[in-house]
Symmetry: C2
Subunit: 334 residues, 2 copies
DNA sequence: CTGTTAGCGCTTTCAA
DNA sequence: TTGAAAGCGCTAACAG
């Protein structure tokens, strides 16, 4: 049986309150301090966090509900968030929504029951009504990577449409006019698509339907199929450049190119999103929009902890970070 | 303020014990059952897990200490473990040791203080003395992906040396004799190296020093540098095949090949480990040893939960799973 | 600065 | 079956 604060009392003859105060960094006569420290060492005492939580109503644990735990993207976010939180004494309870709305709702409920102090969420559904259960319990939620229709929650995102716009501006500046886009239907995908359209309109370029591909998910399959489709076009009609609006889609696109033996950037230019493992293995190095992963995670965690401190007295804030375009070698100047 | 069991009492007029029994699935007169259920719905009551844990001494949370949370490998393990545990009502507290022994020790201590019921660990150090703190607290630990020098803990691994041996056997069967190996110095790497040696010896092939590369970590850099080194050899001396003993190393090897414009498998054959994202984007598809990721994770979790139930009465078990060689197109027959 | 006391919300004897 | 009461290990008034 592990030692308790009462054992420390028997050992030192002091009162519980004094010991508790010492444990929580209060002032104690140095003579007593010594005694307590000795007893702690002797009995190998560790405070029982559960008991502590019961009275303080704080678990010093936050829940991280991830859209897809196996993906490289959330892995990196997880890494940074976990580092930030651990440094401040917080633990991280992880739940995987697996790109499924129902599992997302369940995960949030799970976190609430586990009495987490706050929730970090990479949302799947546009309007997770399940968030209501967190709100009712007074558990703050911070959204990462995408916002919801309602403005009720703090969120940390990048300006997706602007980033995509700059990416396409760049392609146009390089002389491309036949530019295809492959995007997923959910939030980030459609935001990025908006940026694409804006840039094309600005340049006065009409986009034929056959240059635009969209799918339901962030999938490599979407990228693969779409690129295969594009490669079926007559050479004259084939786009000279492609904007792939996320990591997984880029993987699919590259697969298709490799399989067909079409060279990038000689025959077709490519620009993608997210600087993860891929750009390291790829040849040529992919030109891409790099999201500030560490900042997204730590800024989100910072806001969450702050919210835990101050409650809902301040209005929800929306932090929009800048995502830089990193030139690689996958775009050719025409 | 959230409703408590006492509110249910006021609402129903029943005793606390009866309500508690109902909550824990005990037998209650159906009349009372009804009353309780109504009250729960009306008050939106959720049991306070913290209070529950304080008395039952079970948090229904397990700690997962990962060697590198951002890696694809641990992401996939995490996914499966999390699914298995959530299905059984367990939460997962995650800690990243970041390939650092000190952080590993800290993570384990953190989990112990958080009162987790058990720990799943992908070890970094060969002998984490920090595990002592878990043992002392009676918290069971199950090792994933590698074992320790001591046999004191349950573990789930694959037979690394045997898997590597089969991979090299295959290369030899394909007519290769000049086979290089790139491995990391830690557990899995050196086990796989043993398999390599065994296979080469069986075939009576002498291996020159310059064909063997080892580094301290699982890094892409090691793969990259080693392959670059190999490519400096005169064509006659250059190996016809390379065994890369893990995912990250393979990435580095491929980078080096791409950069040098050396074709695989035409000019050099390659065989790797771990069927993660890479094999999907690569052209040609990599021939590799596929570890049964889901089985490793769920088997580990299963053993852990079982250990939590039955304590230490049974001796530690070592589960060694079979890893199949999956033929891709990266190995050429000579 | 110190100690006594009353809970936090729940489970669990034990007697009814 | 049910309920009263004790207590899990700790913190937080409060009075000294």
């Amino acid at each position: 049986m592990a030692a308790t604060i009462k054992d420390i009392r028997s050992e030192t003859g002091l009162g519980l309150a004094t010991i508790s105060k010492y444990l929580n960094g209060g002032n104690v006569r140095s003579e007593n301090r010594q005694k307590i420290e000795e007893a702690i060492k002797k009995l190998d005492y560790h405070p029982n966090e559960t008991a502590r939580s019961l009275v303080t109503k704080r678990t010093r644990t936050i829940g991280f509900v991830v859209n897809n735990i196996a993906s490289n993207f959330s892995g990196v976010l997880l890494q940074h968030a976990s580092a930030y939180l651990h440094d401040r004494g917080y633990g991280m309870m992880i739940c995987d929504s697996n790109l499924d709305e129902e599992q997302e709702a369940e995960s949030i409920r799970f976190c609430v029951e586990k009495q987490v102090d706050g929730i970090l969420l990479i949302p799947v559904s546009k309007d997770p009504s399940s968030l209501g259960s967190a709100e009712k319990s007074g558990i703050p939620v911070v959204l990462l990577d995408r916002e919801l229709d309602s403005d009720d929650f703090d969120c940390v995102i990048i300006d997706n449409s602007n980033a995509a716009e700059r990416a396409v501006d760049y392609l146009i500046k390089c002389g491309h006019r036949k530019i295809s886009v492959i995007y997923s239907g959910e939030y980030t995908g459609s935001e990025r698509f908006k940026g694409y359209r804006r840039s094309m309109e600005k340049a006065g370029i009409d986009v034929p339907e056959k240059y635009m591909f969209s799918g339901r998910t962030h999938s490599a399959e979407l990228g693969y199929n779409s690129m295969k489709e594009l490669l079926k076009l007559k050479l004259k009609e084939r786009p000279t450049a492609v904007l792939s609006t996320n990591y997984e889609v880029s993987l699919g696109v590259i697969m298709a190119l490799n399989e067909s033996g079409v060279k990038c950037p000689e025959e077709i230019s490519l620009i993608g999103f997210d600087e993860l493992i891929l750009p390291m293995v790829m040849k040529p190095r992919l030109t891409l929009v790099a999201q500030p992963m560490e900042e997204i995670a730590s800024e989100g965690a910072r806001i969450l902890l702050q919210r835990i401190e101050e409650g809902r007295k301040n209005p929800p804030q929306k932090v929009s970070l800048y995502a830089a375009l990193k030139e690689g070698e996958s775009v050719r100047e025409l």
